[in-house]
């Protein structure tokens, strides 16, 4: 496998960012990590994950869909779409990498969402294998191997060097563009590191969590479960879980009058919000119980029902650490599960 010494990473980043926009996770002053556009001097974060997931790159929190000019009784529709520039997201974890596969199922099925596809086509995802998973990690539940992430190309660190391998043409193109910085490396030590990570993964508190009893066939059974009241009773109805979630993709469309015309935006929405299903003549989800139930039914039952058994969760653990009241999909699965 090709490798580069870890102390030469900034050379790699310089080289990549010379030809296209590069995003890497960096540490923030408050200790959290977030993706930032690479600028000279930035250091790759060693944090396990960013607070905001990497979905932002393909499905941003807010984007302009279309503009309108209103003149008298006439309307002009202005297509504001522009071909995206090529960009690289470096250091994506295995969980987030899988989330793109899930988002693809939504946005790339007919009719294809051109906004998403545009960015997906132009973005190269370079993943980074995990070496220090946290107690909140449960990607293994969804068949994800944190030590062997997906993505266009994947990186592994043995503590001294960064190894890289391509998974597809896009990944190979990326490696080719910076190949001069790499040299052939011995992966013996790397294998030991990966083996050690897998041993840790087995010891994690959620290692035994399975999806065996979830899926499309349990629709009414789980929908009508008497556990939802208790599970949702202290839910604040905020959107933290949905906004930090790498697979939550529900959106709202809103118009904004700039004074010079109308801008139509798409923005993240949350099924946890009271207005999510509110219509002029009523609301089918009147209390937090129904909204809470929707979020977990979507991930554990509806999504697999519509997508050949694939679940709408990647076990990244963000909701486990970020929910203000510490209610999350793991607690829901454990409480709900009917064997």
């Amino acid at each position: 496998m090709l490798k580069i010494s870890l102390d030469k990473l900034d050379k790699l980043f310089e080289a990549v960012s010379a030809s296209q926009t590069l995003y890497i996770p960096v540490d923030r002053e408050d200790g959290a990590a977030e993706y930032k556009k690479y600028e000279s001097g930035m250091k790759l974060s060693s944090a396990l994950n960013t607070v905001r997931s990497a979905k932002d790159f393909f499905f941003p929190q807010t984007e302009n869909l279309v503009d309108f000019k209103m003149e008298g009784k006439n309307i002009e529709v202005i297509d504001v779409r522009e071909e995206s520039e090529d960009f690289v997201i470096f250091g994506v974890r295995a969980c987030d990498a899988r989330s793109f596969t899930i988002l693809d199922k939504v946005f790339l099925c007919e009719p294809v969402d051109s906004y998403y596809k545009n960015r997906r086509d132009h973005g190269t995802v370079v993943t980074m294998a995990c070496t220090r998973p946290a107690e909140t990690c449960f990607c293994g539940t969804f068949g994800i191997d944190a030590a062997a992430p997906e993505g266009d190309a994947a990186c592994y660190s043995d503590g001294e060097s960064l190894f890289i391998e391509a998974h597809n043409e896009k990944g190979q193109k990326f490696i080719d563009s910076v190949a001069s910085l790499f040299e052939d490396g011995d992966t013996a030590k790397l294998e030991a590191v990966r083996e050690k990570t897998r041993e840790v993964l087995k010891k994690l508190p959620l290692a035994n969590l399975t999806t065996d009893n979830f899926g499309g066939d349990k629709l009414n059974e789980y929908f009508n479960s008497d556990k939802w009241g208790e599970l949702s009773e202290s839910c604040l109805g905020c959107g933290t879980c949905t906004f930090v979630c790498p697979t939550c993709q529900c959106y709202d469309i809103k118009d904004f009058n700039t004074g010079h015309g109308i801008k139509r935006f798409r923005c993240w929405d949350s099924c946890m919000y009271s207005d999510f299903t509110k219509m002029a003549h009523g609301n089918p989800r009147l209390t937090q119980l129904e909204r809470f139930r929707q979020r977990f039914m979507h991930k554990l039952v509806y999504f697999p029902a519509n997508n050949n058994g694939e679940f709408g969760c990647v076990g990244c653990g963000r909701c486990l650490s970020k929910c203000p009241i510490s209610m999350n999909i793991v607690k829901v699965m454990k409480a709900l599960e009917v064997k």
């Binding site: 209103m70 051109s114 959106y251 469309i253 009058n257 099924c271 002029a280």
Partner: protein, 275 residues
């Protein structure tokens, strides 16, 4: 870049008809004339006034109408109030067609049809009724039971009297909730009227109206011997994208915008009761 369904077309409103005190029917054509797109009976379109809102409406005209599309819209929210206030010649945005349609070319073909509508619920059925009228030989007997709060609240009253009732082989049974001066027809709620009419249980039923009307009519039909596999309805929930991606109009794993809006009751029965 390819067209994106989220980028709408322009439609011009060429005619506005005050159907009832709170329902208007809008005729829409493309700026170049003719229909903006083709559709099948029961399908919907997203109509919008930029800056005001966008919402899903069923296309109430029949696909057999080759000149224009029509939408019968009840004034009940922000966007519909705006639409009710506009004048002929106003442009709107329109995208579609969305959703599935009544199976006029398959299951319904050759069948005796019973249409049951309440209030504005006639809007989606009108598309099917006129489609059936224009392809009369493909279908058996046609019976239409339609009720509203009062005579003034009967949508498309003129078309019902002048055209539907004038057709051979179409039985139209109208009812209003309460007695009213100038009304010598039936008085009473739709569910009871259907039971009184005692329709043949060989008929395939298409029903649309307020949820409470649908609920009681369905149980009445079952009492008469109808099964859920014979009854179709069309649903409505809050929608933003209209293509099953924005994530809010689902009943269980089915999206009303994409997998519906037309459902057969045995299909709805398998889904959670959340609509």
């Amino acid at each position: 870049m390819n067209n994106d369904t989220l980028i709408p077309y322009i439609g011009v409103v060429t005619d506005i008809r005050q159907d009832t005190p709170d329902v208007k029917t809008f005729r829409v054509v493309s700026p170049e004339g003719g229909k903006v797109f083709e559709h099948m009976p029961g399908q919907c379109a997203m109509l919008s006034i930029p800056g005001v809102g966008e919402a899903m409406f069923s296309i109430t005209s029949s696909p057999t109408n080759k000149e224009y599309m029509e939408f019968s819209i009840k004034k009940c929210g922000c966007l519909t109030s705006w639409l009710h206030a506009m004048d002929v010649g106003q442009q709107i945005t329109i995208r579609g067609p969305y959703g599935n349609h009544f199976p006029v070319e398959s299951e319904l073909k050759g069948k005796d049809l019973l249409f049951i509508a309440g209030g504005i619920g006639l809007a989606p059925l009108r598309s099917v009724i006129n489609y059936v009228r224009d392809n009369r030989s493909d279908y058996g007997e046609v019976q239409i039971v339609y009720g509203s709060r009062s005579k003034d609240d009967l949508v498309d009253y003129k078309e019902i009297i002048d055209e539907w009732m004038a057709d051979d082989g179409i039985e139209v049974d109208l009812t209003i909730d309460n007695p009213q001066e100038g009304w010598d027809g039936h008085v009473g709620f739709v569910p009871n009227y259907v039971k009184e009419l005692n329709p043949s249980i060989n008929k395939t039923v298409l029903i649309c109206g307020p949820p409470i009307m649908i609920k009681f009519t369905l149980s009445g039909l079952k009492e008469l011997g109808f099964t859920e596999t014979q009854v179709y309805t069309t649903m409505e929930l809050k929608m933003k994208c209209a293509v099953g991606k924005c994530g809010r109009c689902n009943i269980g794993n089915k999206y009303v915008c994409k997998d519906g809006p037309v459902f057969r009751f045995d299909q709805l029965d398998e889904l959670p009761d959340e609509y």
